[in-house]
């Protein structure tokens, strides 16, 4: 029998980049086929071609043995291809039903919507596939896990049977990931076929029937989880042997550098985001903050780094009160910040590398004399840092917007790490980076710790938290659920805490490290 889907020799060029280079890919009926690759390997490009968002320069697509011309999402939908995008495509102010039927609305008396019939149909679908959701709820009131169910229902409503899931686990807790996997299994059990895009090796090993690895736009190989292991997949993905563990010596904690006391912070909408967080970070240790995105980590970091005034509580750096500090005062205490959104908060994209490297020191000697900027020291500084931190850029005058994500992050790391610092606040420092850059950043973080710097690491990647931290604080709904020693903590414990299960109710008692 012909495969449900076959891509032959797909090639897509963007100016200066070969995003897909003669990619072959087949999807058999009822299988879960993982598409593994680093960011920028061409996974999303390939799927966007399949979904009609891009037109390939070369190559052919066959759906159920027949050659298919896909020029728009509408064509793809007609052929039974559906895609759950990494960033959800939902209208927050509309209901679940309205979002699901959009573009395929049931009508009566001509153009009039028949939403009641649609809601009934959606209820039926959600019962069949175990995707519990209230059709009349508004999207903005739903947690991300449920929003994802709505996205999947959107595909099922259109009777899509080739389902593309683009990095579907990025925003989920470990428990929600488990639930999602259950749903995926029930989908294939009912004859659907699934393409699962990811860069997480563990997920591939758990869920996939087959896996195809992409690297720099090319297919490196196709295999099955039974025939391979994580180490081998990582090597295929990166193109060389990579170490999946971070080497680090036991921490030697010194004096307390950062103290946060009963901190309360509001989010942009004026709702409480951080509710009574207290923590301490000592010199020479990494305190990791684990948690699903949107549980107040962003606001906590913004409050500490002076980007968001807290409502109540205290922040002290080396004993100095910095509760209402401006970002400049924060930096001048000898603290550094690697922000979550590097393009928004970390860099001025249109500025050259040279200027981005002095964004928080340009006003001080040796870069300035009074109110005058001195070009020469700035350029010397840039040349030195580009070399030292291995920033891949044509020259120091290139705008950082032209650099890859990994190199943009290196610019920030170079700027922050080259100053004498005692405290480092790093938020999602490796988000969206390739494995090579991740290794690099990880090594630098541990190095800073070993030099006696206090490091506060916020990350929604559990693996990263577990690999780097000496102690782990789990944040849930604006509160610290527990602070645990890293070596004695399991993924399962963290997962439960991240989902809001109180430490005292965990079957296996968790030792809570008291702050005071």
């Amino acid at each position: 029998m012909a495969p449900v889907l076959e891509l032959r020799g797909i090639t897509k060029r963007f100016p200066g980049v070969l995003a897909n280079d003669h990619v072959d890919f087949t999807l058999e009926e009822g299988e879960i086929h993982a598409l593994l690759g680093e960011n920028g390997a061409g996974k999303t490009t390939l799927m966007n071609i399949l979904y009609g968002l891009y037109t390939p320069d070369e190559g052919e697509i066959y759906v159920r043995g027949k050659k298919a011309e896909i020029h728009s999402p509408a064509d793809a939908i007609d052929m039974g291809i559906g895609m759950v995008h990494q960033h959800f495509m939902l209208v927050p102010v509309m209901t679940v039903t309205e979002n699901i039927v959009l573009g395929a609305e049931p009508t009566r008396f001509g153009p009039f919507l028949n939403l009641r019939e649609a809601a009934e149909h959606i209820r039926e679908l959600s019962r069949t596939y175990g995707l519990e959701v209230d059709p009349d709820a508004y999207i903005r009131e739903l947690p991300v896990g449920v929003q994802q169910r709505v996205e999947i229902l959107k595909l099922l409503y259109r009777k899509a049977d080739i389902l593309i899931l683009d990095e579907p686990t990025a925003v989920l807790t470990p428990q929600e990931v488990e639930e999602l996997f259950e749903v995926i299994r029930s989908l294939v059990a009912r004859g659907n076929s699934v393409i699962f895009i990811t860069h997480k090796l563990k997920e591939v090993m758990t869920i996939a029937d087959r896996v195809t690895v992409l690297r720099q736009g090319r297919v490196v190989g196709t295999t099955t989880p039974a025939e391979t292991n994580e180490q081998e997949l990582a090597a295929m993905m990166v193109g060389r042997e990579v170490s999946l563990v971070v080497d680090k010596a036991p921490a030697q904690p010194g004096d307390v550098v950062l103290t946060v006391e009963d901190l309360h912070v509001l989010d942009d909408r004026g709702e409480p985001a951080v509710r009574g967080v207290s923590l301490e970070v000592r010199a020479g240790e990494i305190l990791g903050i684990a948690g699903v995105q949107g549980n107040g980590q962003t606001e906590l970091v913004e409050a500490i780094t002076g980007l968001r005034p807290p409502l109540h509580g205290h922040i002290r750096i080396k004993g100095m009160e910095t509760t209402w500090a401006t970002p400049r005062r924060f930096f001048e205490t000898g603290a550094a910040h690697v922000p979550e959104d590097r393009q928004r908060d970390g860099l001025v994209l249109s500025y050259p590398v040279r200027d981005n490297l002095v964004l928080n020191t340009y006003y001080k000697p040796p870069f300035a004399m009074g109110f005058l900027i001195k070009e020469k020291p700035i350029e010397e500084n840039a040349t030195r840092l580009v070399q030292e931190f291995d920033i891949r850029t044509p020259d120091i005058y290139t705008p950082v917007s032209n650099l890859s994500g990994g190199n943009q992050q290196k610019v920030i790391v170079a700027r922050e790490f080259s100053r004498p610092i005692d405290l480092l606040v790093a938020s999602q420092p490796t988000r969206g980076l390739d494995v090579g850059s991740i290794e690099y950043i990880h090594r630098r973080l541990v190095e800073k710790r070993d030099q006696g710097c206090a490091v506060l690491l916020v990350s929604s990647e559990l693996d990263e938290i577990m690999a780097l931290s000496d102690r782990i604080a789990v944040m849930y709904e604006g509160q610290i659920m527990a602070v645990l020693p890293a070596e004695a903590t399991t993924r399962e414990q963290l997962g439960l805490l991240m989902a809001g299960v109180r430490p005292e109710t965990l079957s296996q008692p968790v030792e809570t490290v008291e702050e005071s």
């Binding site: 966007n48 979904y51 968002l53 891009y54 728009s72 999402p73 509408a74 939908i77 895609m83 995008h85 495509m89 939902l90 209208v91 927050p92 102010v93 509309m94 309205e98 979002n99 039927v101 959009l102 573009g103 395929a104 609305e105 009508t107 153009p111 009039f112 919507l113 959107k154 006391e261 009963d262 309360h264 409480p272 509710r275 009574g276 207290s278 409502l311 109540h312 509580g313 509160q479 610290i480 527990a482 809570t512 702050e515 005071s516």
Partner: protein, 423 residues
């Protein structure tokens, strides 16, 4: 974990302070009503309100409404003060909605005060309110069609002005008001399409594109009108649409003369309010419009053509603005004068925002602006001792208060003003 010393319930209470403030405001409004209006009214003076409108269709006449001025002001102030007091002591479930009630009470007191010892034709003023609200409502509807698909149309004023001009010229030339109306719609439609091309195809800043249309329209119509229409007076004499009484309905007292004995353009406006409401909230097209305005990419991934939706909606918005332009000429005076739209297109945009981007809300907001306008004229005639400029200011003050978010915040469509770039 250290126990928190911060009390969220106290914090919540400080947020509740706003509701206390509203209570105090309502209470003060009550006192204001007494102090402003009560002392200057003669004891025993009566306010006489006429309810009959002299028109061709005569509904059964109603007796005049006569109320004791002082008593009414006292009562109305008392109600407002009571609302404020109750809000302070116990609290209403939706204290903000009461703002409308209190404002109406204030308005009633004001009218009674102004009419004390005189007579005032209430139906006449309400009829004039609808007339003055009509171009504003067209502006609001035009704005809704554009902005619901996320294209800001600041050029409504210019579209109205251009349409007002062409409608008169065409109607005068071919001696047909209907062709004039068609010309107005085409003019508006073309300008709407131009805006769409600038905003969608060329991604010009939408505020600048709209402003360009306004400046272009003022310049061109003023030039043509002074250099050409002043010579060819025959092309600036179109006449106007006459009121069409609707059988039976026109005979209903008060409501009949106001709503059911007006000209075709006003009927069209009321029809468009209802039609837009139905289209926007009950049809496939409306659902897609709203999706395109809120999250164009989501709509795109579901196979909806974002650009097509925007082109069509903005062009329709232009056609509606064109109808609004025709109202100035064919719907009222029958001739074109320079800059005769006098900012009504902009006020229409304010009404759209006031009405939270909904057709019915926009219509009600237009009526409020129209009322203020009508009242101002009436008060000037009744020689009320308030400069009419202050009366004119009132609706704009209300708009500023609304837009600043004191009385509930109006949320525009999420993608409003942003061009959509397909990857």
């Amino acid at each position: 974990m250290t126990p928190t010393t911060f009390d969220w319930t106290t914090f919540r209470h400080t947020h509740l302070r706003r509701e206390r403030v509203l209570g105090v405001v309502y209470l003060l409004m009550g006192l204001l009503i007494w102090f402003l209006f009560f002392p200057s009214v003669e004891p025993g003076a009566q306010a006489k309100f006429g309810l009959n409108l002299v028109t061709a269709v005569k509904p059964p006449p109603l007796p005049d409404l006569v109320v004791p001025a002082r008593g009414t002001i006292l009562l109305v102030g008392l109600i407002s003060a009571f609302i404020g007091g109750y809000q302070l002591a116990r609290g209403f479930r939706d204290p903000q909605a009461l703002m409308g009630v209190v404002l109406i009470l204030f308005f009633v007191a004001f009218i009674v005060w102004a009419t004390a010892g005189k007579s005032f034709n209430l139906t006449g003023m309400l009829a004039s309110t609808l007339l003055r609200a009509t171009p504003i409502a067209f502006g609001a509807l035009s704005g809704i069609w554009c902005e619901r698909t996320a294209v800001i149309n600041i050029g409504i004023e210019g579209m109205m002005l251009s349409a007002a001009f062409t409608s008169v010229v065409v109607a005068s030339a071919v001696h047909s008001l209907w062709w004039g109306l068609v010309a107005a719609m085409i003019t508006g439609g073309i300008l709407g399409f131009v805006l769409a091309v600038l905003a969608i195809r060329f991604r010009v800043d939408q505020i600048i594109a709209g402003t360009a249309i306004n400046i272009f329209a003022v310049g061109l119509t003023s030039f043509l009108s002074s250099s050409w229409l002043s010579v060819r007076q025959d092309l600036n004499a179109a006449g106007n649409f006459k009121p069409i009484p609707i059988p039976v309905l026109a005979k209903i007292p008060i409501v009949g003369p106001i709503f059911f004995n007006v000209n075709i353009i006003i009927y069209l406006m009321i029809g468009l309010v209802i039609l837009t409401h139905i289209v926007l909230f009950y049809t496939r097209w409306g659902l897609r419009m709203r999706a395109v305005g809120e999250h164009p990419k989501a709509a795109d991934t579901l196979g909806i053509n974002v650009y097509f939706m925007r082109y069509v909606s903005v062009t329709v918005g232009g056609v509606i603005a064109g109808l609004g332009g025709a109202y100035f000429t064919l719907g009222s005076v029958g001739r074109f004068d320079e800059a005769m739209t006098a900012g009504k297109g902009f006020i229409g945009l304010a009404a759209m925002i006031f009405g939270k981007w909904t057709p019915i809300g926009g219509f009600i907001a237009s009526l409020i602006f129209g009322l203020a306008d009508a009242l101002q004229v009436k008060m000037a005639i009744m020689s009320v001792p308030i400069p009419s400029e202050f009366l004119l200011m009132a609706p704009y003050l209300v708009t500023i208060i609304v837009l600043s978010g004191v009385v509930g915040r109006a949320e525009p469509p999420a993608a409003d003003g942003q061009p959509y770039v397909k990857e």
